[in-house]
């Protein structure tokens, strides 16, 4: 149960944590802008968080994905595919439900994901989204995601040392 006291303690604890740079890799995005609005909605369905698991919002998964779209080591085809996939998804949900993915109900989301994962492009797109979501979950926080090492704490992961002081990319 979340109490006011635990929220305050949590807040105090957060203030004591070292400041983490998100400027070097992850890029704060306007969530209402495409493809980020759609991808953020899919991220919440793929990895909702809850319990002791961090949420995509806490991990800054969408900001991290914006970093991926600017990463010189990620090839242009992959970047295009990540964006195009969101557009193709919304074209489909527009035909089937008359609305963009992020406006659908949770039950409709599940129905769409089941369909999507059964198509070659859809499975590949979801695979890509999850792989970058895992990076946001488990990267060193210098990349601007895995905020406060929340992903590491959740899975009991111990990083290797020396850790990067800044993203090498």
């Amino acid at each position: 149960m979340i109490t006011r006291r635990s929220l305050l303690l949590g807040g105090a604890a957060l203030l004591l944590l070292p400041v983490e740079s998100s400027a070097d890799y992850a890029r704060p995005v306007t969530i209402l802008k495409e493809p980020f609005q759609t991808i953020a909605a899919v991220q919440r369905d793929l990895f909702p968080g809850g319990g002791t698991a961090p949420s995509p919002q806490l991990l800054k998964a969408i900001d991290y994905l914006a970093g991926v779209l600017n990463d010189p080591y990620v090839d242009d085809d992959t970047k295009r595919f990540l964006s195009d996939g969101a557009r193709w998804l919304n074209e489909r949900t527009g035909e089937d439900f008359g609305s963009a993915y992020y406006r659908l109900t949770p039950a409709q989301h599940e129905e769409v994901l089941q369909w999507l994962s059964g198509t070659p492009w859809g499975e590949s797109w979801l695979w890509s989204l999850i792989s970058y979501l895992f990076e946001a979950l488990l990267c060193d926080p210098v990349y601007g995601a895995n905020t406060h090492e929340a992903g590491w704490h959740w899975l009991g992961h111990e990083p290797g040392y020396p850790r990067p002081k800044a993203p090498l990319i």
């Binding site: 499975e123 895992f134 990267c139 992961h157 990067p164």
Partner: protein
């Protein structure tokens, strides 16, 4: 222009021993390396950069290969690496891919030097005996133990090779408690558990720091210098003589040669400017594929089909390490508290191998087998998480099901893996060339790799994997599986400049000097006519020390004329 006694192309395990030996013997040496000069302070355990983005290898849009494979009807499938993502680069930096190795160091066995005469011909394969024996190579294996630093413990087993020293100069690194579980099960099964020798220093020695047991070794640069990479172990000491210059960020694109001598090397610097180097003796050690590519791209009126290709042997008999890998999972709920604690010990090495089937008999026939190394799955968290993406029916998993799978994988189980190493038989169908139609960022034709694995390789690999799976089963692992395939491991590549006594059937002579060229040696893994059933790095190091002795002897007998 400064002139050198020796110019070496490449700076990895095949290059560094030559630079080390020749500079210490009083000769001036220049090492030309395409990648940057990185040292311990540059290496961190950054999975995103190092493993997920491969920052230590060239970007494929700048530098790539053409890869050809056989379809089932025998036709050839051709793809570029850029289009397919098929990456054959390893470590592009001073010290080469030895920076990123795990350092599993097994010596080749005496039988590896005489496969043809021991096992006879295999249809469709170009198996030959080496032109030298294990006994000739043994002093150099020993030298690597001492100079590069190999830790381990010699135990008696049926295929323990002869040694000129009783034991390794350094004791084994800190070992996982699970190594004891492994030893117990092997004893029960009648197998001989071998402490895997490692090119990792357990404590400060040889002017380097000992291992910090970071839990992130293979695939990462070493931040202490404990790993016996070519730069830390040899090149820094060569440089300290004052006679060895190391030039990073330069790409050697061509060698000039007259009929019998190489006269110059041409390279591009980081700004794309071309330079020329003169030296008395040249050594090529850019790893098998790139060494062959350079020799093809060095064709001239004297050598119209490529340098060293007068008899059409250049690039032929490309080999990799055959085999594959497998795994099993230890579930916490099947273990007691002490076992769980032992299982989750981090940082230490498993350091266990089996070679009981290095040679084996089956159905009345004798086979050359191989080595099985055992270890925990890599600590890289993203790659561990990616294993959980599909359920047992092969369906993508998401939502709370995915989160539960991750929690189970990270907090309630641990995956134990094995790697199988057996011979990739050399054949006419697996070779290196160049593709004139695809150029790199400097405008040079890229290397072309034709891939083929002999069915025999898969047969032997599957036999060994079956033995390894049985060990995991007896240890109590579940979800046991293995993947023995014909997919070539890019980091375990050799051949293409086969050495031998007959110039018509080889590129190099037994000292690894090019047939017909007085002052050109090739000292990386491309000299190997067969690979042995072990990882290659120790053999490459040892042979490069042997080549260094040959060069010293040649220079003593006939000093360089520039």
């Amino acid at each position: 222009m400064k002139q050198y006694d020796l110019c070496i192309v490449g700076s990895g395990a095949g290059a560094a021993p030559v630079a080390y030996e020749l500079s210490r013997a009083g000769y001036s040496v220049l090492v030309l390396e395409k990648g940057p000069y990185l040292t311990e302070k540059d290496f961190t355990k950054d999975e995103i950069a190092v493993s997920r983005r491969s920052i230590y290898t060239p970007r494929l849009k700048d530098e790539q290969h053409v890869v050809e494979t056989y379809n089932s009807d025998g036709s050839i499938e051709r793809v570029t690496a850029e289009a397919s993502g098929w990456n054959f680069w390893n470590g592009s930096m001073v010290g080469g891919s030895s920076n990123l190795m795990s350092g599993y160091f097994h010596r080749m066995k005496p039988v590896d030097f005489k496969l043809r005469s021991t096992f006879g011909a295999i249809e469709g394969a170009n198996v030959v005996d080496w032109p030298i024996t294990y006994e000739e190579m043994e002093p150099y294996f020993t030298k690597v133990e001492r100079v590069v630093g190999v830790s381990g413990r010699v135990v008696e087993h049926p295929f323990q090779e002869q040694r000129s020293t009783r034991d390794f100069p350094f004791p084994p690194t800190w070992e996982q408690p699970i190594s004891g579980w492994f030893d117990t099960v092997c004893k029960t099964l009648g197998y001989h558990s071998i402490p895997t020798p490692r090119a990792v220093l357990p404590y400060d020695a040889l002017g380097r720091s000992g291992c910090s047991y970071s839990n992130f070794c293979g695939g990462y640069g070493c931040a202490t210098g404990a790993k016996g990479n070519a730069r830390a172990a040899l090149l820094e000491k060569a440089k300290a003589t004052g006679r060895c210059d190391i030039l990073p960020d330069v790409f050697v694109y061509r060698l000039d040669a007259d009929r019998q001598r190489v006269t110059a090397a041409h390279y591009f610097d980081a700004d794309g400017n071309s330079h020329t180097v003169k030296a008395g003796t040249f050594v090529v050690a850019a790893q098998a594929i790139e060494s062959v590519r350079l020799l093809f791209n060095s064709k001239s009126a004297f050598h119209p089909d490529g340098l060293g290709n007068a008899n059409g042997q250049l690039g032929k008999n490309l080999i990799f390490s055959a085999g594959g890998s497998g795994q099993g999972r230890f579930e916490f709920f099947r273990l007691n508290e002490r076992q769980r604690f032992e299982l989750m010990t981090r940082g230490a090495f498993v350091n266990r191998s089996l070679q009981d089937w290095y040679v084996y008999r089956r159905e009345g026939r004798t086979y050359k087998g191989g080595t099985i190394d055992f270890l925990f799955e890599h600590a890289n968290p993203v790659s561990r998480a990616m294993r959980e993406l599909y359920d047992d029916d092969g369906h993508l998993v998401w939502g709370s099901r995915l989160q539960k799978r991750l929690e189970h994988a990270f907090k309630a189980s641990r995956v134990f893996v094995f790697e199988v190493f057996n011979d990739w038989l050399p054949t006419d169908n697996c070779f290196i060339g160049v593709d004139e139609g695809v150029r790199d960022k400097w405008g040079m034709p890229v290397g072309k790799i034709r891939l083929y694995s002999h069915p025999h390789d898969l047969d032997v690999g599957a036999f060994l994997a079956d033995k390894a799976e049985n060990v995991l089963r007896q240890m109590g692992a579940v979800e046991i599986q293995s993947d023995i395939s014909s997919a070539p491991p890019p980091n375990l590549v050799a051949g293409g400049c086969r050495f031998g006594k007959d110039p018509k059937a080889s590129v190099l002579d037994p000292s690894c000097k090019m047939h017909g060229i007085d002052n050109l040696y090739v000292s990386d893994g491309s000299f190997m006519p067969t690979g042995g059933s072990v990882p290659y790095t120790w053999t490459i190091y040892a042979n490069a020390f042997r080549v260094a002795d040959a060069i010293k002897a040649a220079l003593k007998a006939k000093p360089n004329r520039l």
